[in-house]
Amino acid sequence: MKRLSRYRRHKAAGPFLLVFALLAIGTTFNVASATVKQSPNSFARTSAIEEGRQIFLKGCSSCHGLNAEGGAIAPSLIGVGAASVDFQVGTGRMPMADMSTQAMRKAPVYNAEETAALAAYVASLAPGPAIPTDALLNYERDGSTAEGGELFRNNCAMCHNFAGQGGALTQGKYAPTLMGVEPKYIYEALITGPQSMPVFSDKTITPAEKLSLIKWIKSAEKEPNLGGATMGRIGPVTEGLLAWVLGIGLLIGIAVWLTTKAR
């Protein structure tokens, strides 16, 4: 101790202590709050449904009920179908990390095999929308971009913005951006209506129309910005901001230079 206390007044002592304290608190917290992840190997012998049920009991039942019947804080999962589970768990929205306004997309907790198991379990509870197969998702062949645009502007733009950049709902909820979303998840979201999103069943928007929608969204994603940088494809708000900050800013800067006396 005496050897350490010699450096009491060293000028690096303060910063060093601070960094040490932060590291200590951070690692302690991380270790203490780490959840134990079950490795799938211990369930290798059981069927997918039973595997899904086990994962469900451990990771989902605390909110969704032991029999997926729902409760005060989470809806019932009976009849939501494999597609719902594939969407919610595949995009990482479920399990929900914090119980704030809306589940947001984050790194998935469960891998593909676990997700499939969960989906199989939920699908076994009651009939519901199935996960679309790859044959069903050939939007390049079966969709029409222009028709997709019309459908998008009529059914999607009012929440997700004209270019699929996302938009605001009430009380802090939001419709997320559609850029970079896999076609499978777009399809599943349409047929299951996650959270605030309404249900667009195949009778109201046919599978072919859904593929047109996906084709349009993908084309908007790939489309380069023809006039220059777009600042997020948001609209007049960012344009006005740029006009003042860059336009008037540059012009005033040059005016100041113009009127200063030369050396």
């Binding site: 459908l151 109201t204 380069p224 220059g228």
Partner: protein, 334 residues
């Protein structure tokens, strides 16, 4: 805080600060350097014009290049735009640099003159006007005055009258839509009729009235006709018996045209069963008949009376019982 400084002697004007010569004024080498700088700027402007011409003639319109931060950019657009921008900017910068470094910078004084005209001018003007007025004898020529007034007065009316045919009178147009008893609801786009059994709980469909025999929909029809079809669980409705009778098995239909300023209220939150208008954030509660629960809208969305026909397709039982869209003076909103 007293303010008597004006009566006490103010600080005197010391005259301008001693003039500091610019480098280019004293040093011929600095002058030469300044000239070269101006020449470089003008030269860059010329080069940029050449870039503009080159881009216009030789660069195809479908070539793209990736630029960090900005993303994939159209090369022709960049070439034309930057060529134009820099040709103008460098010309301006060159001219200003020339003025700052080399042109005479001594300040010159102009004197202000009083604006008020001299008393003689004013008196003469008054005399001229009075003299002319006296000669015209307007005061005595009341017959001329009155008939002139009659002629000029009537001139005011034709310009307004000639504009009458700008548009039709509103009459009943704001009160009627294309919805009549028995009109089928069809999807928008697609024009497909909708079976009540096809709608799941939580679904919303954009609909329009079915038009007979391929009639073209006018935009002015689309400004009034769109209807939102929403299905919730029937027990969740909190409606009066009359309004409840206008629903069908948990399916309810509202005019999509906002009662505030006419935007399309298409945003449906399935979980809360609220409709949100994105223009001014008016929020409507579907379970209570699109009652306004937030925002500037003052009236709920008009509800369409719906039922199903013999084949199970959703139809309107009657036209809207009030005007759709924004309010206006003649609207009876009680």
């Amino acid at each position: 805080m007293s303010n008597v400084s004006t009566e006490i002697e103010p600080v005197q004007d010391p005259g301008p600060a001693p003039h500091v010569m610019r480098n280019a004024d004293i040093d011929p080498k600095a002058e030469k350097r300044a000239e070269q700088q101006v020449a470089i700027l003008f030269g860059l402007s010329g080069v940029s014009s050449l870039l503009l011409i080159y881009s216009y003639v030789f660069i195809a319109s479908d070539v793209f290049v990736f630029i960090p931060v900005m993303g994939s950019q159209n090369v022709q657009q960049l070439g034309l735009g930057l060529g134009m921008a820099f040709s103008l900017l460098f010309l301006g910068l060159g001219a200003i640099h020339w003025a700052k470094k080399l042109m005479p910078e001594t300040e010159v004084i102009n004197h202000r003159h009083e604006f008020r005209s001299s008393d003689e001018d004013r008196d003469e003007l008054v005399k001229t006007v009075k003299h002319a007025a006296a000669e015209v004898k307007l005061g005595r020529r009341s017959l001329i005055k009155r008939s002139l007034g009659f002629s000029l007065g009537l001139f005011a009316l034709p310009p307004v009258l000639l504009l009458r045919d700008l548009g039709p009178l509103p009459k009943k147009q704001l009160e009627t839509t294309n919805w009549k008893a028995g009109t089928r609801l069809v999807t928008d786009p697609g024009n497909r009729p909708i079976l009540a059994s096809d709608l799941e709980v939580g679904a919303v469909v954009q609909t329009l009235p079915e038009m007979p025999n391929e009639t073209e929909r006018l935009l002015s029809d689309i400004a009034k006709d769109p209807v939102l079809l929403i299905r919730i669980r029937a027990e969740e409705f909190q409606l009066s018996p009359e309004k409840l009778a206008m629903t069908h098995d948990g399916i309810i239909a509202f005019s999509k045209i906002c009662s505030h300023m006419g935007c399309a209220v298409a945003l449906y939150e399935q979980a809360t069963k609220h409709l949100l208008c994105p223009c001014h954030q008016s929020t409507f509660d579907v379970t209570r008949g699109a009652k306004v629960i937030f925002g500037p809208a003052a009236r709920p969305l008009p509800q369409l009376d719906i039922t199903v026909d013999e084949e199970g397709y959703l139809i309107a039982r009657a036209p809207f019982n009030e005007s759709v869209g924004p309010s206006y003076w003649e609207r009876n909103s009680q």
